[in-house]
Amino acid sequence: MARISFRLNGERSTVDVPGKMPLLWVLRDTLGLKGTKFGCGRAQCGACTVHLEGRAVRSCVLAVEDVEGRAVTTIEGLSESGDHPLQRAWVELDVPQCGYCQAGQLMSAAALLAGNPSPSDEEIDRAMAGNLCRCGTYGRIRRAIRRAGGREEER
């Protein structure tokens, strides 16, 4: 057991868990934040994507001891009231089908836009390549990122 403190969605959070426990399960089972999803457990699908100091990381392979003292943002903290430009675009374009992968997709997309406010399609694909969607929402994901990046009408 280890006592680990980190910033979670802007607030200080302290947990007493095994240090090797992946951040994903600390978020979900210990802290009750269910938005970050379990998909593969080995950084292959991106469903568990969160931000660590603003960078998109896979929380399923990130030991909680490695986030000690650092800042983590989850889908629940992406915006105050669900109105991040990406969240708005996702709803407007009706992106989700089953929806399970979408929190991870949004977190990857948000990290992309934070560093590159108006990415090209190639840049979108490259940044989103780690996020799987079995329902096949990729076309709408691209459009939604374009819209949030102010490139609405381009194809």
Partner: protein, 725 residues
């Protein structure tokens, strides 16, 4: 394990936007509605005096959009402003709601009329309540967007104001339905009702659900199909912090219930996974080790040399082959496919001596309830089933094996239990799309016309695996499938191949293989006779609009609409347009479940490097209820079909699945996803099935394009493995 305080939990909960601990309560424990009589003319809708309109979504939502689409039908006939509607997931209660399942693309089809009637009954009663209040004739009043008006006097009343009065009235037996020409909601594009919750990470899925006091369980299952637990050393597992118990699960007779294994129960998912890792289990062989993909391929080939069951024979087949100018023959093979839905299997059961609560993602809540009844001895009435949103179904969750595990374990330990599968569990213990081999022969005359079509198939039938009463060929091959009934002589023969590999339904069962085989062979016929592949299909269908018998579900079909989707795809692509060297188009079409689909795929081939650049999909599924959802189903089915065609293969070695996670069981990534241009045929007919319709022809359209681009004829999927040689 955790020292987080209750206060802190509440803070986190507030931060998360609420809904931290999901309040799954026993039925009857819920607080009653406040504020006077609400109007609930049937199970599907309620209008409250404060004006709130609640519509219940009866079927499980797995991404096919029914949580939005079905309530839209009620709202249309009730005639309310969609923005005032709150949609709630109905509990499982088939006595009140009728069939509640998700499969066979049936939800909209089966519920279109009943839900229209439910909404219309509400509107009629609200109008009657207003007419009575104003002492005027009901036929002098009209309703629109939640308000009843009396045109002559200009009086109006909102549904909320009328709710209590309407509640006292007797619902009509035969409510008058709207003229579809006056539809204002049906046919428009409405976003999914859960979207705002999805994009903010609210707990919606089975994996997010919790019950107070529940344990998390991870189950070790025999890595080799058919194996059983011989011995368990659980000492190390019990020492893992958080582990509470280790329980052996006995396999059930029915292989779709309990496969058996050893469960580790713990305070958290992670502890359960770690505990399972520490288990040492010795497995007793069920004789599965001998099975491998290569061995299975050899058995398929040998099986096709033996006579099978003739499912359909029309015309003089032998004679046509004897007289043929030329005979074309090809063997096709398809691999096992895993479902690989994004949310791994999970389920919660709380078994008490006199009742049981089930919570989780399932396409078949009734099966979960039935299995729970059988395992516990409780009557179905004592088993409450709550449906959560499903993180992908695709047929995997037509099986309730993981629910059975939860029931078994909860009963064993006397506490609520959530069973949680890992991705490895999912990939290695699936009910796979059956593997199979198909031998096609065509007798061609001097003009290249098909005089006879013969198809001999063998697959690891899911009904055979299950020991079902249904014949093994059912949903493996289709005696009425195109081009049956369109060639002078036709013969279909089937022989099942026994396998220990568990098989089940995978989106568009059977059709996901036969459409590839039949359409790819048609493309070969067209190529070898120098004819245009689209023209060949149209020739076979003929110009007359006629009804064609089709004994699988969704039949009969008509040649007219089938022609129209093909012609429309040809026009929209447009078929035959000039592409750069190395690029080419491929065509395929399919009818099943009541829906027509035609696809044009464009690919670029650079050596063995393949890029699918564009897919045009035309679908006729009758009237569109939700345009956004309908287009999404086609976009998704096409990319799902492409994912399986390019990558999909669960291969067997030593009686076990060789793949274990997404690094070796690959799904299509965004970098490989072409734009999908969807065209839905405008139709005044009642809605027909949609969710599975666009998937079957994808593999054939892409392999046809590869051949047209100068690449090889790919007859064994997946495509990328074939191209890699």
């Amino acid at each position: 394990m955790t020292t987080i305080s209750r206060r802190r939990l509440l803070q986190v909960s507030a931060l998360a936007g609420g809904g931290l601990l999901l309040g799954f309560r026993w039925a009857g424990a819920a607080a009653g509605e406040e504020g006077g009589a609400s109007f609930e003319p049937n199970a599907f809708l309620a209008v409250h005096p404060d004006g709130r309109v609640v519509i219940l979504a009866k079927n499980p939502e797995m991404g096919q959009g029914v949580k939005t689409t079905l309530p839209m039908i009620v709202a249309e006939e009730l005639d309310v402003d969609w923005r005032t509607v709150t949609v709630e997931q109905a509990p499982f209660d088939e006595a009140r709601f009728g069939d509640q399942f998700a499969g066979g693309s049936q939800s909209v089809v089966e519920n279109w009329e009943p839900l229209r009637r439910a909404g219309a009954a509400g509107r009629e009663l609200l109008i009657a309540a207003a007419a009575s209040r104003w002492s005027v004739g009901a036929d002098e009043c009209s309703a629109r967007a939640g308000i009843v008006r009396h045109a002559a006097s200009g009086r109006e009343a909102s549904y909320g104001e009328l709710a209590s009065a309407a509640a006292a009235l007797e619902p009509p037996q035969e409510p008058r339905l709207k003229d579809p020409a006056s539809f204002g909601l049906v046919g428009t594009a409405i976003g999914g009702v859960d979207n705002p919750s999805i994009v903010t990470g609210k707990p919606l899925y089975g994996i997010d659900a919790e019950i107070d006091g529940m344990l998390f369980a991870a189950v070790a299952r025999s890595p080799v199909f058919g194996g059983r637990v011989r011995e368990v050393d659980e000492r190390a597992a019990r020492e893992v912090p958080g582990v509470r118990d280790v329980v052996r699960i006995e396999p059930s007779e029915d292989p779709t219930w309990l496969t058996g294994g050893v469960a580790v129960l713990a305070d958290s998912t992670w502890a359960a996974f770690e505990g399972r890792r520490a288990l040492s289990v010795e497995w007793e062989s069920g004789g599965g080790e001998a099975e491998s993909s290569d061995e299975l391929s050899r058995r398929f080939a040998a099986r096709l040399e033996e006579p099978g069951e003739v499912l359909r024979e029309t015309g003089a087949v032998a004679e046509a082959f004897a007289r043929a100018d030329r005979v074309l023959e090809a063997d096709y093979e398809v691999p096992f496919l895993s479902h690989a839905q994004m949310e791994p299997m999970n389920y919660i059961a709380d078994v008490r001596p006199d009742r049981c609560l089930l919570v989780g993602p399932t396409q078949v809540p009734g099966s979960a309830q039935g299995i729970a009844a059988a395992l516990t001895g409780l009557p179905r009435e004592a088993i409450e089933v709550r449906m959560t949103r499903i993180g992908g179904g695709f047929g995997r969750r037509l099986m309730a094996d993981y629910a059975a595990e939860a029931v078994f374990l909860s009963r064993a330990v006397g506490r609520p239990v959530k069973v949680q599968w890992s991705r490895e569990d999912d990939v290695q213990h699936d009910y796979y799309r059956p593997a199979g081999r198909y031998r096609l022969r065509a007798a061609l005359d001097a003009g290249g016309r098909i005089q006879a079509w013969e198809e001999r198939a063998t697959t690891t039938s899911r009904y055979l695996f299950r020991g079902s009463d249904a014949p093994a060929w059912r949903t493996e091959v289709f005696p009425d499938g195109f081009p049956s009934h369109h060639v002078p002589a036709f013969r279909l023969e089937y022989a099942p191949t026994a396998s220990k590999v568990s098989t089940g339904a995978w989106r568009a069962p059977g059709h996901n293989a036969t459409a590839f085989v039949d359409q790819a062979f048609l493309d070969e016929i067209a190529a070898s006779t120098g004819r245009d592949p689209v023209d060949l299909r149209l020739e076979l269908l003929g110009t007359e609009d006629r009804e064609v018998p089709y004994d699988d579900h969704g039949g009969p079909y008509r040649t007219g609409p089938f022609r129209r989707v093909i012609e429309r795809a040809r026009e929209l692509a447009p078929w035959g347009r000039t592409l750069p060297p190395g690029s080419a188009q491929g065509f395929a079409a399919h009818y099943t479940f009541g829906g027509y689909a035609a696809l044009v795929a464009e690919v670029r081939l650079d050596g063995a490097a393949l890029r699918v650049e564009r897919i045009v999909a035309v679908v006729d599924c009758g009237r569109i209820v939700n345009r956004s959802g309908a287009e999404a189903q086609v976009e998704g089915a096409v990319l799902d079909g492409l994912s399986a065609a390019l990558h999909g293969a669960a291969t067997i070695a030593g009686g076990r699945v060789e793949q274990s996670n997404f690094h070796d069981y690959e799904l299509l990534r965004i970098t490989e996803a072409p734009p999908v241009e969807v065209h839905l045929v405008e139709s005044e007919e009642s809605p027909r099935p949609l969710g599975e319709i666009a998937l079957p022809p994808v593999a054939a359209a892409v392999t046809a394009a590869i051949a047209a681009a100068g690449g090889p004829r790919i007859r064994a999927l997946p495509i990328l493995r074939a191209l890699a040689g």
